[in-house]
């Protein structure tokens, strides 16, 4: 695995990545390759290590072991700024928004690109229009609803339009309409995407490849319809249900018994 050649069409490659905070390992020996233009999804229950893995990709934390390459070049060989122009992220983080407008928020993201004035303005306005915030562009960001704010940060990323998109729960707070609008837009652009998702129907709809994580390890990987089997849902998500086409039909939660196996209540 360590010496697996990094092919030129691999946009993003992680090899044997291990991330620990203090002495607690959050990600253990994770390896994955996202070819250029594909959308890959990181799935798994709460606390599986999905967000921690993504955090190494937008440099909020560093891995204790393993390597990260973007287009064949190691993360350490980029300055944070240079990396940010190549790998953009939509993250979960709370800020102090007093005195900022949606327009400001998009512009703050665009500064990494150092564009000339007209392109800067064009990209900003196009992105805000795309997420349906053109009419609220100059209103206080503090007055936006949770979903509008998420759209605003989405607009920031779409305006920057990096080669690689890292999306941590991109559909957080979004209504169904915008979940589809924004993920369709990402897919339409043909960029390389690695995202975490809780909505498995969206994973089936958008992902070329998914990874199932649990307790810091990637335990299954493959096309979503092959990975998200009834057994996998039962074992890793502790739910009883299965996909019929793209539709997930759920029976209910599964409760772990004392014997280590699983059994449905009733």
């Amino acid at each position: 695995m360590l010496f697996e050649p990094i092919t030129s069409d691999a946009a993003l490659t992680l090899q044997d990545l291990t991330v620990a905070i203090g002495n607690t390992p959050y990600v253990q020996g994770a390896s994955l390759t996202v070819p250029k233009g594909e959308i890959h999804g990181l799935l798994g229950p709460n606390g599986a290590g999905k967000t921690t893995l993504l955090r190494t990709l937008y440099r909020a934390t560093t891995a204790q072991a393993g390597t990260i390459h973007a287009f064949g070049r190691r993360i350490e060989d980029h300055s944070p700024r240079e990396w940010a122009t190549k790998v953009g992220a939509l993250v979960q983080s709370s800020g102090l928004l007093a005195g900022l407008t949606p327009r400001d928020i998009v512009e703050i993201g665009l500064f990494v690109l150092q564009l000339d004035r007209s392109e800067h303005t064009d990209r900003r306005d196009a992105a805000l229009a795309l997420v349906g915030l053109a009419d609220k562009a100059t209103q206080p960001a503090g007055n936006l609803s949770g979903g509008e704010l998420q759209r605003c940060y989405f607009a920031q990323l779409l305006a920057c339009d990096p080669e690689i998109y890292i999306l941590d729960e991109p559909t957080n707070h979004l209504d169904l309409h915008y979940q589809l609008v924004l993920l369709d837009e990402v897919k339409r652009r043909g960029r390389t995407v690695l995202m975490t998702l809780h909505d498995l129907s969206l994973a089936i709809r958008y992902c070329d490849q998914v990874y199932l994580m649990t307790q810091g390890r990637i335990v299954e990987q493959g096309p979503p319809d092959q990975v998200l089997t009834r057994d996998a849902l039962r074992q890793y998500y502790q739910v009883d249900g299965q996909f019929q086409g793209a539709a997930l039909s759920l029976v209910g939660p599964v409760w772990s018994g004392t014997g280590g196996g699983f059994s449905t209540r009733n």
Binding site: I21, G22, R55, Y58, R59, A60, S79, P80, R81, E82, W83, A84, T85, G88, A89, V91, Q92, S93, S94, G95, L96, L97, A98, G99, L100, T101, D104, I105, E107, I108, G109, F111, V112, T138, P140, Y153, I166
Partner: protein, 335 residues
Amino acid sequence: MAARVPILFPAALAALLLTALAGVLWGTAEIGWADRAAILMRSDDAPRGLSLIIWQWRIPRVLAVGVIGAGLALAGALMQTALRNPMADPYLMGLSSGASAAAVGAILWLPDWITDSFGVPAIAFFGAALAFVLTFGLSTRRGQPLDPLVVILAGVAVSLMFQSLTAFFLYLGDPQAVRSALGWLMGTAANTEWRELPLVTCALLAAMIWAMRNSNALDATLLGEERAQALGVRTGRLRMGVFLATVTLTGLAVSVAGIVGFIGLIIPHMARLLTGARHRVLLPLTLTLGALVLIAVDLLCRTLLAPEELPLGVLLALLAAPPFILILRGLRRAV
């Protein structure tokens, strides 16, 4: 919000210049208009005594107060951004309490030869720096990112410790010396000399240049630690820069004028309500308003009960708090 900027800046600068001029022209001493003009033009027939008052007392004082007001306001704006906390101010990390305890301790307990050779200002600066080191030491753990909330809590703890130390010193101290220590605690710019100006001015300029060069990164910090990191900002390094700028600006301000609270908390909010939170425009306006307000309040300190002089810190809080609160409420509705 940006549309207001072109009018705001010249207006604020003009108001600052007028206030500074008023600060130089008015004071305890009665000086006629003809003499005022003659003195400012440095003409030969200007009365020497009055000339001395203006050139050796008032001008350095107005300049010092302006630089201190600007520096404290800048430090407050930077701290609010770095900790993403609207309640943050320059004294948050225990700086004022550290400076107070050191200064009061020195005035009351240290032998005169030590206080005289180092000077109370230098000792106060040392106290502020010590408080910063303590707060920072308490809030960092090796290999872990700094949590803004822990910094604030550590600052509160260090403040409380130094405040009780100050109270203890005052309680045990000789009454005459206690009065002198209290005067220092309440903040005053009286007795400012020309030679004190270059250092604070250089510190202000250096901090401002650094902050303006990092204005984009500071903007990104407002969106949250991780969002800033995702935008390529080295947040740890940036925050360290903010802390160093704050300690230097605040420590120097305290060493020149004692404790002047409130300005670092409220001025950045006013500026933010006027221009928005983008640092490229916010910081210059914060600087201007900080200087303007402190010069105006210092002028009132000298003239309200002349020839008695009021303590700067006390008058600032008494006088400026109610209107500022009203302005904030009004602006909040408008935004």
